[in-house]
């Protein structure tokens, strides 16, 4: 693992030392590291196909569970199966994208514990890019595929009066949603600088948030809906934009234009996550071993 990363370091030192913006540098480093993991994954193609399928199937089972629920009922929380499929598909695809790009962030606690984070700190590459690209797993395409299929099913089945705003809302929702989940991954990793073996707390917000958003907000207690709207703004991943597409009211009394806020909310989340990350990195003390 460490040797492999070193290989990237020796491959591109000249380029890395050129003056360029931190962001461009980070993106470039991310690309190099991800490409290296990609090559290593593709060395075992059969294994890749199997794990990608497993990733697909693992996420598909929770939609199967929802379909089994609908073998007993026609509506859940006042929503039909295609409507829930829209919420499910949007959340699943957005989460899948974030998981593909940033999903490795939850390994940070382990690196803090065993001290291997030190190796990343001495490299002239933004730490966040190294952590996020660590063990880049293309098999996570399985999750995105599953989410996209359910979303496709919903869009085909639902009888929506399409307007320009509604059409645009779909890609806007997926990209902003992925960005919001990505910020949650970063904030969760920042938290692990302080609580080293608490990666499960992060899972509650990422995987848990994804599960929550798969169901309509009417299912949950109003306080919980308020919490994920105003405190951890996951509602902007899919609930608010998707309910706009469906022409349904949000259980909290919010004006219509709120549905267009996801990009703004995503940007704010990244500011907060970035500050948290910086605070975490500054507070980091090596294990000393």
């Amino acid at each position: 693992m460490a040797e492999a990363l070193e290989a990237v370091g020796t491959e591109a030192p000249a380029a890395v030392f050129e003056p360029r913006s931190r962001l461009a540098e980070g993106v470039r480093a991310y690309g190099l590291i991800a490409a290296m993991w990609l090559r290593s994954t593709m060395a075992y193609r059969a294994s890749f196909v199997m794990t990608a399928f497993g990733n697909f199937a693992a996420t598909a089972f929770d939609f199967v569970a929802i379909m089994l629920m609908f073998s007993h009922v026609d509506v859940l929380g006042g929503y039909t199966l295609p409507e829930i499929a829209l919420l499910y598909g949007a959340a699943g695809t957005a989460f899948g994208l974030a998981d593909l790009v940033m999903g490795s962030m939850d390994r940070l606690g382990r690196r803090v514990r065993d001290g291997t984070l030190d190796t990343l700190l001495v490299r002239p590459v933004p730490v966040i890019a190294q952590v996020a690209a660590d063990r880049f797993a293309l098999r996570r395409l399985g999750r995105i595929t599953q989410g996209a299929l359910v979303l496709g099913y919903a869009l085909v089945t639902l009888d929506i009066e399409w307007t320009v705003a509604r059409v645009l809302m779909v890609p806007l929702m997926l990209l902003s949603g992925a960005a919001i989940f990505g910020a949650v991954f970063v904030a969760g990793a920042a938290f692990q600088f302080f609580a080293q073996d608490a990666s499960e707390v992060q899972n509650s917000f990422t995987y848990g948030g994804n599960t929550l958003l798969q169901y309509p907000p009417t299912v949950f207690a109003t306080d919980l809906v308020r919490g994920v709207t105003f405190v951890v703004p996951l509602a902007f991943v899919n609930w608010l934009p998707a309910l706009y597409v469906l022409g349904r009211d949000y259980p909290l009394d919010l004006p219509d234009w709120v549905a267009f806020l996801p990009p703004v909310v995503a940007a704010l989340c990244w500011v907060v996550a970035g500050l948290a990350w910086r605070a975490g990195l500054r507070a980091y003390r090596s294990t000393g071993s």
Binding site: G54, D197, S199, E200
Partner: protein
């Protein structure tokens, strides 16, 4: 026998070391418990008495699922990664020389792990769930020990399945594929996502007959008072039957694998 008790105690202590991780795990189980509980409320609002459960029984089922998730290792986790790694690296050869029974050794450690998780990650989410929702806790005191026996049998079935998964590494070298299949089956067929009583038709019959139903569905039904008298005996018989059958297969695989072991020189 004393040796295995020591191993079990070691398994318990090993997991008891991770205090922050346990608290974090309790948090996760509680969050998922809340999310699932609300979806079940929506479902049972539409169809009261679905699957023979009333609302509070359905909610109890949710929290039992969260309480037993780690205990019965429904989604895997525990010794199997370690054993697979020992098989892959060849360290298992050293284990085979030891004057111990390999299967019993790992079983003892796993029972210790399960007891810790039952106490560490089972009780608190259950209590939090009981505070937020109206749960159907057992009224007759005899149900508690009956439930614990059923959980114990569930843990052994879970162990036996994961032991087979780990041993597959003797043939496959990389046990990741087998572990993934076991993870999927464990998540779906234990009834973690949805009680197996709600699975329709043939799928339901098959799901209830598979060993994974011993991990959650059967203990939950014992807890909810659905299995008493002869029903309880049959439930135990089902769990013990699967446990024995799978442990036996594990033994056969183990002896077949032992004959295959080639210790790399050096």
């Amino acid at each position: 026998m004393r040796l295995y008790a020591v191993v079990a105690a070691g398994g318990f202590r090993r997991y008891a070391t991770y205090r922050i991780a346990t608290v974090a795990g309790i948090f996760t189980n509680t969050v998922f418990g809340f999310i699932m509980a609300y979806t079940y409320v929506a479902l049972w609002d539409e169809r009261p008495h679905l699957g023979g459960y009333d609302m509070s029984q359905a909610l109890t089922y949710v929290w039992l699922g969260q309480a037993l998730l780690m205990t019965c290792a429904m989604m895997g986790g525990g010794f199997e990664d370690e054993l697979m790694e020992r098989i892959r690296t060849g360290d298992v050869a050293v284990d085979l020389y030891r004057p111990i029974d390999l299967q019993l050794w790992w079983l003892a450690g796993d029972l210790g792990r399960a007891s810790f998780h039952l106490l560490g990650r089972g009780i608190v989410p259950m209590l939090l769930g009981a505070m937020a929702f109206d749960l159907a806790l057992p009224t007759s005191p005899g149900i508690w020990p009956a439930f614990l026996v059923s959980v114990g049998l569930g843990v052994v079935v879970s162990f036996a399945i994961r032991y087979l998964v780990a041993l597959s590494a003797f043939w496959l070298m990389d046990g990741a594929g087998a572990a993934q299949i076991a993870f999927l089956a464990g998540m779906f067929f234990s009834g973690l996502l949805l009680p197996l009583n709600l699975f329709p038709g043939l799928l339901g019959e098959v799901a209830r007959a598979l060993p994974w139903s011993a991990l959650l569905q059967v203990p939950a039904d014992v807890f909810l008072g659905k299995r008493t008298g002869w029903g309880l005996v049959r439930a135990y018989g089902f769990q013990a039957g699967w446990a024995l059958a799978l442990l036996m297969v594990g033994r056969l695989m183990q002896s077949a694998a032992t004959r295959r072991v080639v210790v790399q020189g050096g």
